[in-house]
């Protein structure tokens, strides 16, 4: 992996390699919890906290953890951070804890976190890994916040509980339901693709393997050169 500046790593996660909208990871919690902006923000920050913790620890331990047991080790570390975060949320922001429900413990198996551990933290230094975690976490949080805001404003007429659209206007309650999640998700992916293509940062994608965001890594793996 070529050396990248830490700032670039951090910014990468926000747009260019946005985990939700470009890498299409962690779709399940993204669709499930973003019916309200505050839930999206809560989920994003919780995942960011876990990601930051796990990326730092895994990066620190990258020379200690033998290859054979790296996945179980990562899972234990991630699960530990998730449980700690859920205790803290339950104690200090019980409303968010209630709203996130099952999706909070499911951060353990969120592809973004394990994905960053496997793809980045175990090959890079602590500072770079922390930057990567913050970038990815912010990307995830921003994507969720964006989706949550659009769905809440259109679906409930409010934003963070504040009345935005006058109550007399009939809201599109479908936006708060699962189909609305898919609509917004699709539109945001299209928007981000459009922005990236305009800037020429992303070539026109082909349908199929080469169009996959993981294609680069995949090809490395096929050549046996993942390391």
């Amino acid at each position: 992996m070529s050396k990248q500046s830490n700032l670039k790593i951090l910014l990468n996660g926000i747009i260019k390699e946005n985990p939700v909208l470009v890498l299409i990871l962690g779709t399940c919690p993204t669709l499930a919890v973003t019916s309200l902006a505050v839930n999206g923000l809560g989920m994003g920050l919780a995942a960011t906290a876990v990601l930051l913790g796990s990326n730092i620890v895994i990066s620190l331990l990258r020379k200690v953890i033998p290859d054979k047991v790296r996945i179980p080790s990562y899972i234990v570390i991630i699960a530990g951070f998730v449980t700690i975060v859920s205790f803290l949320l339950e104690a200090y922001v019980p409303d968010i804890y209630e709203a996130l429900g099952l999706f909070l413990p499911l951060i353990v198996v969120n592809c973004i976190i394990l994905g960053r551990a496997e793809m980045f933290a175990n090959k890079n230094g602590v500072v770079a890994s922390a930057c990567d975690a913050i970038g990815m976490g912010l990307g995830f949080t921003l994507a969720l916040l964006c989706m949550g805001s659009i769905r809440e404003i259109l679906g409930s007429g409010t934003w963070f509980g504040l009345q935005i659209i006058p109550e007399s206007v009939q809201t599109m309650s479908i936006m708060t339901l699962a189909p609305g999640g898919f609509f917004v998700f699709g539109c945001l992916i299209a928007l981000v693709n459009c922005i990236l293509m305009r800037k020429g940062k992303k070539p026109k994608q082909e349908v199929g393997c080469s169009g996959c965001p993981m294609a680069g890594k995949c090809a490395e793996a096929a050549e046996g050169g993942c390391k």
Binding site: L61, V64, I65, P66, K68, V69, P72, S73, V76, I77, A79, G80, T83, I84, F87, L88, E90, A91, Y92, P94
Partner: protein, 325 residues
């Protein structure tokens, strides 16, 4: 030392990671538990304060006596009252009521907790507006509040749970209260008649079968003294099959003498109430089928009965010449 490198080190590393993570969890759990417990307690207290307005805090009362259906009992810390939870078997599962009492045993609020009663029938009792009807009632007069028609089983369970709640109040406060029992009204039975029995009941003087079909009604009977006509009429009720069959008797002026059910396979506890005398007897004296209101919760069955009776009233004009004026 390939063995050590391949097997021992991975196991040791993984074990150490697990131990360290567990330790971190224990630490966080210990640190956050008091806060979480306090929040949960506050939430439960807020729920209890709904049925005992103005309450500030609660402490659980240890119950010594075994009370059937008792769930828990709490005393308001300043002594202004009690909140108890009692359970009784409803239609779809247990009905749990949280009941607030002031210090004298007067109900300050009733709330039905989770339940599985039928939406539109038993579930109506879970609405706060129904529970509000019990506010101010005591152990002696709580049975006077009406149940909800169409939800007999749930209504009974509700009263039974309230009775248990009064027992709990009595046990928790030490005040002896006389709890009035829920009196079971004798349930009205749906009695089905054969056509002959119905004729005999409606026209004591005996009937003779009219030889013709009248307005597609196959079975028409004329009283032997020509003082009445009876007809066997049908209509589709709530189910496609069997049809509702009624015997309708009318006097020479066209006024209904009586209506008796022959086939009446409507839903038990809902539609079948329409076939009971208390409903069908409302048609006595009517000359049109429109004078009787449909029974709440049993609109389809009520309308089927209305339609069947309408057929008889329509056919009456054709046979009234056979009767003595």
């Amino acid at each position: 030392m390939k063995f050590v490198k391949d097997f021992v080190i991975p196991v040791v590393v993984l074990t150490v990671i697990c131990v360290v993570v567990s330790a971190a969890l224990v630490f966080t759990y210990q640190a956050t538990k008091p806060i979480i417990d306090e929040a949960k307690n506050a939430e439960a207290n807020a729920a209890r304060a709904v049925v005992l307005p103005g309450a500030s805090g609660f402490e659980e009362v240890e119950l010594t006596a075994e009370i059937e259906g008792a769930v828990d009992a709490y005393k308001e810390t300043s002594g202004m009252g009690y909140v108890v939870t009692a359970s009784a078997q409803g239609y779809g599962g247990p009905v749990n009521l949280m009941v607030g009492f002031d210090a004298n045993g007067t109900i300050t609020g009733v709330k039905m907790l989770e339940h599985q009663e039928t939406p539109g029938f038993g579930a109506k009792l879970a609405e706060d507006s129904y529970g509000a009807g019990y506010v101010g009632k005591t152990a002696s007069d709580y049975t006077e509040v009406d149940g909800i028609s169409g939800a007999t089983v749930t209504s009974k369970a509700y009263k039974k749970a309230l009775g248990t709640a009064f027992e709990l109040y009595s046990a928790a406060s030490g005040n002896d209260v006389e709890i009035s029992e829920v009196v079971d009204e004798p349930a009205e039975e749906l009695v089905l008649y054969t056509v002959d029995d119905a004729n005999a009941a409606l026209v004591p003087g005996g009937v003779t079968k009219y030889e013709q079909e009248v307005d597609k009604i196959k079975e028409v009977y004329i009283a032997n003294d020509k003082s009445a006509v009876t007809m066997v009429v049908t209509a589709q009720g709530y189910h496609e099959e069997p049809l509702i069959r009624l015997v309708v008797a009318m006097d020479p002026t066209g006024a209904i003498i009586g209506v008796k059910p022959v086939d009446f396979a409507e839903t038990e506890g809902i539609g079948d109430r329409v076939g009971k005398p208390s409903y069908l007897d409302q048609y006595i004296g009517q000359t049109s089928e429109d004078g009787v209101d449909a029974l709440g919760g049993a609109t389809v069955s009520s309308n089927a009965v209305k339609k069947a009776i309408g057929k008889a009233i329509g056919a009456f004009e054709l046979v009234k010449g056979e009767l003595a004026a």
